[in-house]
């Protein structure tokens, strides 16, 4: 899995590429550690190139949300495929996270 970063309107956009699974979640956690260290307050995760997510990936994202909230920040997601979104919907995590259809909608909200 790759994590690319861009900046748009003062928001850090993380573009995830590949699968978020039990083996790649530690890499994602490392990238999030760096984001917290850099005191980023508005983070958007772009899922357009994420093909798969499992419960360990969900756990890593929940941890990130908790850490950002504690630091007074916000975390939004965008561009999920229907398969990936379905995992959030089944687990009702679509109620916990702010999920937007497009990056533009998410950026407007942030």
């Amino acid at each position: 899995m790759n994590v690319k970063e861009e900046r748009a309107n003062g928001v850090l956009v993380c573009i995830l590429e590949g699968e978020v699974n039990i083996n790649t979640s530690p890499e994602l956690r490392k990238a999030f550690d760096e984001i917290i260290r850099n005191k980023e307050s508005k983070v958007l995760v772009d899922f357009s190139s994420v093909s798969y997510i499992d419960s360990s990936g969900l756990a890593t994202l929940i941890e990130m949300l908790q850490r950002l909230k504690r630091a007074g920040g916000r975390l939004c997601f965008s561009n999920m495929s229907q398969k990936v979104k379905n995992v959030f919907e089944i687990t009702k995590l679509d109620k916990l996270f702010e999920i937007f259809e497009s990056r533009q909608e998410a950026l407007q909200s942030l």
Binding site: N23, Y52, D54, S55, L65, Q66, T91
Partner: protein
Amino acid sequence: MNISEKVPSRLEIIPEFISSLAEKIKPLGISSEQFFNIRLSLEEALVNAIKYGNKMDPQLFVDVVVESQGDKLIIIVKDKGQGFDFDNVLDPTKVENLEKTSGRGIFLIKNLMDEVEFSDGGSQIKMVKVFNKDE
């Protein structure tokens, strides 16, 4: 089709195991959406078996059987552990549990597969998916 495999208790080999299994069941023509759900369920079952059943002991294996019967795919995953109280698994969708970082594996399996049955005290899980073929 009947596949029987012994999977070592190493989490890092799960994606490779599932990729090789995907190749073997390809001729069944399972739709990509259903394959996503089958894969996720199998991965969650394997992680539970390796982490909680076999307690990551590299000497222990997880037995996996995959069978097709008509339009049904049957997957059995068995570890060498003592099992668990499968009737009392927390509901991760309750508001008070939403921010918990564990406890979603079994819930996902139950919601993504058509039939789920535990036996041997919980050390064996049987999962059934009725599948459609890709158009």
